[in-house]
């Protein structure tokens, strides 16, 4: 029997039971659609994290004071004063570092005339712009000279500008106050929007670190160092060099804990990726289970169908259908249900993905492999779960089947 005849027979049989056929298909449709949607959401969030991280500077290295035990009491990392300006100056000479900036910050109220706004002021060097991939849109960055003189100048992020200059005046050249310290605005940063964790990256004020240290915080240590490796792939070895130099400078005995903590974006991205990977696997598992349930639905219906059509099977056998013909017929019926369910499921999945993106504004990304995978899985499901009922049909005794009531 040729395949065209088989298809004709199977389609005819399915056509006689449209509703049942559709309900069976529904299991597969839901299964495939959920696999595609879940994987699209998982991959979308992964992509957006990746984009966010590379926006933040993919080869960034952050050095912070590490927590340390002092007389048996573990100290908070914030209380540590283990990093000094001299550490920063020493690290400047280290090979493999493209840009480096100390970091001190302070939260406080910014005031411009009648308008005031709470924000955080970051004390850094001009290198900071390269490290964080920031750009000055209007005005200019402060200079090395401003750093030496601890000049009362600052650069504002867009959010700060919007709040302090609500009427759209040009902030460059204006004097604002941070607490009681007057600062001249010399530039405005280009907007970067929110990052993957929902933080507003434009809610920022940048000033020379000397200004923040001496005039605002009145401290003689620095709170952190930002650096960037010359190459993303050389981040690891640069971190090793920094560790070695800082341990030597801080006179840390071999075997003792570091009194500082170095993190790179790579670690951060790995950490966040592993979280989102886990979520993706979890979602895919749930979706996979629903596909399995859909498959069992096919098996169930095919069994019912074989019993119900025993007489038909007996007739087909008595007019010359071989076992293999009956087996193929029922197998093809199962595969048609699962494959067309799969195709509809893919369409529904794409639609659902699009809706998630439009309504919930979640980042999504449909990968070709997830479509192919779910399609392959549901075809295999059809064959696997259709096999036993089809085998049962083919094994019927025509004499008994034709007289079955």
């Amino acid at each position: 029997m040729n395949i065209a005849n088989l298809l004709k027979i199977a389609l005819k049989a399915l056509n006689n039971n449209k509703l049942r056929c559709f309900l069976t298909m529904l299991g597969i449709i839901i299964g495939v659609a959920s696999v595609i949607t879940m994987l699209a959401i998982g991959q979308g969030s992964k992509n957006s994290i990746k984009a966010q991280i590379s926006e933040m500077g993919s080869n960034m290295i952050m050095i912070h004071p590490g927590s340390m035990q002092r007389g048996g009491v573990r100290q908070s990392a914030d209380d540590m004063k283990s990093l000094e300006v001299s550490d920063y100056e020493a690290l400047q000479t280290l090979p493999g570092i493209a840009a480096i900036s100390p970091s001190v910050n302070s939260s406080g109220q910014l005031v411009n005339g009648n308008n005031n706004y709470p924000s955080t002021i970051y004390g850094v060097t001009p290198d900071y712009l390269d490290i964080r991939k920031l750009k000055v849109k209007e005005g200019a960055m402060f200079t090395e000279h401003d750093i030496k003189s601890a000049a009362k100048v600052c650069i504002l992020g867009k959010t700060v500008v919007d709040n302090l200059f609500p009427n759209g005046e040009d902030p460059v050249g204006r004097v604002i106050r941070f607490g009681k310290i007057p600062l001249t605005v010399v530039g405005v940063l280009e907007s970067k929007g929110t990052n993957s964790m929902g933080m507003d990256q434009d809610d920022v004020v940048i000033a020379p670190y000397t200004t923040v240290m001496k005039r605002i915080l009145a401290i003689d240590y620095i709170q952190g160092i930002f650096a960037s490796a010359v190459d993303e792939n050389r981040t690891e070895e640069t971190i090793d060099r920094i560790t070695e130099m800082l341990r030597r400078r801080h006179k840390i005995q071999p075997g003792a804990d570091d009194d500082f903590d170095i993190r790179s974006q790579q670690e951060l991205s790995q950490m966040m990726n592993s979280t989102s990977d886990m979520m993706t696997v979890l979602l895919a598992c749930i979706a996979g289970i629903s596909l399995l349930v859909g498959g069992i639905g096919i098996m169930n219906i095919m069994y019912v169908s074989v019993t119900e059509r025993t007489r038909e099977i007996g007739l087909r056998m008595s007019i010359g259908a071989r076992g293999i013909d009956i087996l193929s017929q029922f197998l093809i019926e199962a595969v048609i249900i699962s494959v067309s369910g799969g195709v509809i499921g893919i369409l529904v999945g794409c639609l659902a993905t699009w809706l998630v993106n439009v309504i919930a504004h979640w980042p999504v990304y449909i990968q070709m492999y997830s479509v192919l995978l779910s399609f392959a899985v549901c075809t295999v499901t059809g064959i696997f779960f259709g096999w036993y009922p089809a085998k049962k049909a083919a094994g019927l005794d025509p004499i008994e089947a034709i007289r079955y009531e």
Binding site: M1, N2, A4, N5, K8, I9, K12, N16, R311, E312, G314, L315, R316, M317, S318, I319, G320, A321, R322, G323, I324, D325, P398, I399, I402
Partner: protein, 255 residues
């Protein structure tokens, strides 16, 4: 000695020798056939008669290649069925045998023409167009040329049985096996179906009609009676009664 009307040079279609068939039912051996032998030649219209339990259904299953005997020989159209595999028997059923059943066994929600095409779907040497032409020819032969696209549930019992006969004819079989083909029909329709069988016989078809109804014997050309798995009589009827006349003489239904 038996004298057969068609024994003069006509080809042997069926020859069975010492057929035995035993079943094990509930641990006991049941002998359904105890040595049945006969020969059927081309163009015969044979009724096989017997009460229930006489072994006629078992004999029909064996003649129809659905079952194999425990011992004995069966040649269909000169080929020994004994030596065939299951699949070969399926192909034989498809090419050489036409079945007509008591309860028609048409596919539900399926048109007459599609039902008749069914045996040809299992014959890969027949193309789609040829299949349709053959099905139309078979339906015309049973007088349903105007009802090609009626669905099986839109037809009367007699019409359904005609479709079933067309389905049995479509592959141009060497033998038509009818199993109580009039058993589900009222008297008038029974005679009209019987008339159809006689017409087919007149055109040279070889027909075996299995029934428990002794009245039907007078319409066939030969009658074999089975009892307890044995042939108890095998008689020729050189002048079969006309089913058409019987049909026309039936009282018209007034109520």
């Amino acid at each position: 000695m038996l004298k057969h009307a068609y024994s003069n040079g006509m080809k042997e279609i069926i020859r069975v020798e010492k057929l035995r068939r035993e079943f094990i039912v509930g641990g006991e051996k049941v002998k359904a056939l105890r040595g049945v032998s006969f020969t059927i030649r081309e163009g015969e219209f044979v009724t096989i008669m017997g009460t229930s339990g006489s072994g006629k259904s078992t004999l029909l299953n064996i003649l129809g290649c659905l079952d194999t005997p425990t011992s004995g020989e069966y040649w269909l159209d000169g080929v020994s069925v004994q030596s065939m595999s299951k699949n070969q028997r399926a192909v034989t059923r498809n090419r050489k045998i036409g079945f007509v059943f008591q309860n028609y066994n048409l596919l539900p929600k399926t048109t007459a023409i599609e039902n008749v095409e069914l045996p040809l779907l299992y014959n890969p040497s027949v193309g789609a167009r040829e299949r349709r032409e053959m099905a139309i020819k078979a339906l015309e032969a049973v007088g349903l040329g105007s009802r090609l696209n009626h669905k099986s549930n839109q037809m009367s019992g007699g019409q359904q049985q005609r479709v079933a006969i067309a389905r049995a004819l479509v592959n141009d079989p060497v033998i038509i096996l009818a199993d109580e083909a009039t058993g589900n029909l009222d008297t008038r329709t029974s005679f009209s179906i019987l008339t159809l069988f006689q017409e087919l016989h007149a055109k040279g078809r070889t027909i075996i009609f299995v029934t428990h109804n002794p009245e039907l014997a007078e319409y066939s050309s030969r009658n074999i009676v089975l009892r307890d798995g044995k042939v108890v009589s095998d008689t020729c009827n050189d002048f079969p009664a006309s089913a058409r006349e019987a049909y026309e003489n039936l009282p018209k239904e007034n109520d």
